[in-house]
């Protein structure tokens, strides 16, 4: 459904004269002072209640904070309202927070503060999130240079073949650690003490039936087998009941977005699959769809089908794996997880044969895919799909009625979808609470609109429903796969010429796809060159983690890990 931005602009301006100061392409520019009023109005009066993306860009003369607002109302689902706030003061930029309107903005605003140094007035806990408290500088500012900095954009000049190129030195020889690393002025590594995330309140003693207990803080992770990577939760406990959860992320942070700004547009494709390494194909998918939209580029028909086949195989196997992990975290050690991994092997074999690698696939290209597949591959793919169908049946037979499983998961971490929307939660977790919101349906990309599939939903959003939701979605993926394998046409896999350094017309866009874990968005700004000016990944896992505390409080410590596992996070994508 198309959205009439001009009408919305007029409507907002009637309610708050002068609130929308400008139009920048598809973006409304909102006055900083009226931001909160406008945001509340858009949510309450106009039905745009779902803030999914919030980030910023550093321009030479200003900073911009961008918001992407969508609606869950059936008649307004589809394209949303993109708006931004311009901040002319680069020395001390600040704007009002929207965390009290959408609690889900919490993490993303902290990320913007961390990366750009933009303060959000009224934010409950404006601390760095991906970097450590005490880090010097804000890395995504254009004047910040990373260690190993060589040049603003790749390809670096020293890589041009010239007669006088010396024998290069290895990375360690070439750039010393010390160069380009800045420390705060009074930093002394000997006496530095980490700033605690949560202050322990020793006076917080509670008398329960004459037993005096302390509220204690327990660190789970970062090296914990069930935290899905390197992740730390500071859990406040009252007895065994959780009173607070403070997620500490960033252990795998590598400044993916700064690397992305240095890279060529093409060069970012193999970096995207390092985000969510459980479903690498879909990260490729999201990135090329976003860049193709900016380029206005056609895609070869056979390549579209291959994209769907790879993408849905990824989704099916991601959900099967998520179910396996869920049981691992419940204490059903290994058996369901290893059954899931066996199925994954078959899918990875297909990926390896098609793309050349099992996980770091680098398969999607602008306008097509990297390699064609043989008829034999398609035949085997069909067999794998049939096998997955049998195995999903087996999983359901084995697990769904298990009494211990039901006792552990029913009613745990239940949340209404309205609450989840506030936290920006997306993907299977949101749908398990009863809202049929799937980007493949509401804002179709690629050729998803030509397939016949349903969006399954469940009712309560508790752990048990999330499990059933994933099983149901994996079945729908197999349904799409059957159709795609039946209809895949012969022909070219690449539309237009495949260039190693394509340029993208100047402009900015936020393009989202339905990643197996939720809404994967790419916010891209191009200055018309061969490198992105700004490259931001709206990671579904990162935003979903924002709801972890609200889901966990009041449940038992033993459930904390399971709740985290049911969000199906991958730390490579959270930390970027």
């Amino acid at each position: 459904m198309a959205i009439d931005l001009a009408a919305i602009e007029a409507q907002v301006n009637t309610a708050f004269p002068g609130a929308v100061v400008d139009r920048d392409g598809e973006w409304l520019v909102v006055d900083k002072a009226r931001l909160k009023e406008v945001a509340t109005y858009l949510r309450d009066e106009m039905g745009f209640d779902y803030l999914t993306h919030l980030s910023a860009t550093d321009y030479p003369d200003r900073l911009e904070v961008v918001y992407n607002l969508y609606s869950t109302r059936p008649d307004l689902q589809g394209p949303g309202i993109p708006f931004k706030v311009r901040l002319a003061d680069k020395e001390n930029p600040h704007l009002p927070t929207v965390t009290d309107i959408w609690p889900g903005a919490n993490f993303q605003e902290r990320e913007v503060w961390d990366m750009f140094g933009i303060r959000f007035d009224g934010h409950p806990n404006l601390k760095r999130i991906l970097l450590w408290e005490g880090f010097e500088g804000h890395p995504l500012r254009k004047d910040w240079h990373e260690p190993y900095y060589e040049q603003e954009h790749k390809p670096f000049k020293s890589r041009w073949p010239r007669p006088d190129n010396p024998r290069p030195r290895s990375a360690e020889e070439r750039v010393r650690w010390r160069r380009n690393v800045r420390y705060p002025p009074d930093f002394d590594p000997e006496n530095w003490e980490p700033i605690p995330e949560i202050e322990i309140d020793q006076a917080d003693k509670i008398d329960i039936n004459g037993l005096k207990t302390d509220r204690i803080l327990l660190n789970i992770g970062p090296q914990h087998p069930s935290t899905h990577g390197v992740f730390r939760m500071v859990v406040g406990l009252q007895g065994e009941t959780i009173t607070s959860v403070y997620p500490v992320v960033g252990h795998l942070h590598r400044n993916h977005e700064k690397i992305g700004e240095r890279n060529l547009w093409t060069g970012n494709i193999p970096y995207t699959e390092r985000l969510d390494y459980i479903s690498p194909m879909y990260n490729n998918f999201g990135y090329v769809v976003a860049v193709e939209k900016m380029m206005g580029r056609e895609v070869a028909e056979r390549a579209e089908y291959l994209r769907i086949i790879m993408g849905e195989l990824t989704r099916a196997i991601n959900h099967i794996l998520a179910v396996g992990f869920l049981f691992n975290e419940l204490g059903a050690m290994m058996t369901p997880m290893l059954y899931a991994f066996t199925e994954r092997e078959h899918v990875l074999d297909l990926f390896e044969e098609a793309s050349g690698a099992r996980m770091m696939v680098n398969y999607y290209r602008f306008g097509g895919v990297a390699r064609d597949v043989s008829d034999d591959w398609l035949k085997r793919c069909r067999k794998v799909v049939d096998r997955l169908e049998r195995k999903i049946d087996e999983f359901e037979y084995m697990l769904t009625d298990n009494e211990i499983f039901i006792a552990r998961t029913r009613g745990v971490a239940a949340m209404t979808w309205q609450e989840m929307i506030g936290y920006g939660v997306s993907g299977p977790v949101l749908r398990s609470a009863g809202l049929a919101y799937d980007i493949r349906k509401v804002e179709p990309y690629s050729i998803y609109d030509s397939f016949d599939f349903e969006i399954p939903t469940h009712e309560t959003g508790d752990l048990y429903d999330r499990y059933r939701q994933r099983i149901a979605e994996a079945r729908q993926s197999l349904k799409i796969l059957h159709q795609a394998l039946d209809r895949i046409p012969k022909g070219s896999i690449q539309a237009g010429k495949k260039a190693w350094n394509p340029t993208v017309p100047a402009g900015e866009a936020y393009v989202r796809v339905e990643h197996p874990k939720g809404e994967l968005g790419f916010y891209l700004v191009s200055d018309g060159g061969t490198n992105p000016y700004r490259y931001h990944v709206r990671s579904p896992c990162f935003v979903n983690l924002g709801a972890l505390e609200a889901m966990s409080v009041g449940h038992l410590l033993a459930d904390a890990i399971v709740i985290l596992g049911s969000l199906d996070t991958t730390m490579g994508e959270v930390d970027r």
Partner: protein
Amino acid sequence: MYGLGLLKGLRVTMRHFIESYTYDRSPLKWFSLKGRYDQEWLEKRQAIEGKGLFTIQYPEQQRKITENFRFLPMLVYDESPDKPRCVACGICARVCPPQCIWIRRATDNRGRPQARPAGFWIDFTICMSCGFCAEFCPFDAIKMNQEVKLATTDRDQDMFYDMDRLLVSAEYYAQLHPTDYAREEEARRAKEEAACRAAAEKKAAAEAKKAAAAKKKAEAQAAPAKPDDLTRIEGIGPKIAGLLAAAGITTFAQLAETGVERITQILREADPRLARITDPTTWPRQAKLAAKGQWDALAKWQERLKGGRE
């Protein structure tokens, strides 16, 4: 009944347990001399329809690597390692996302750059195995190797490959990626044949044109003179002789009578580049001597001339 769900789950795990002993072989063969991890049985279990035990005993058993598998880049040479296919164009070094390729371009003895690398280094500690270098190489010179056992104790030195360690023969490449190799060779053969055919057609067309012109000339001249060997004039090669013949100048006498401007015009019409690099000033005078039969005088003069120039 409470507990039924548990029993259902246990039934599945029990079936898996039993299948791991019975799917690949009948109980009669349990005491066979063939090991539990026999290759034939393994393939049966690992097939897409396979059941039972899925794991293998690494490293005694290893899975077959698929043809498209890529790990790290290698450079391909055709006949000998002195002549790699690489022409040092640098596309691989520029498209490389982590920028791990360095190339030094070769020069000839006068310092001019040449189309081959003098040095080629890849830092495998930062290579991300994406395969862009192989994909975008226009000369099929860099390809992806499948050798994965590269463990070493000194990553700074041993993981920093130079040309000697990167170069592999075309046969090795053909063995790793037979389908790709066959397709590329096919494309190359087709290209060469097309080039050959185009050249042959061009030659045939030129000859036909020449023949037609000569015929026209012959018709125009009632009594054509016997043609002389114009290449004896210094500065005239077979090509220019052919051009002059096409313009009707076949004897020394005719050439001696032709003006320098006319000769230049003939050359320019045929090929402007040719007109720039040749100087026909002395040709009529040389032809005059040749026409008179004064070969000694001509030879003496030609000794002083440099490529037909005074």
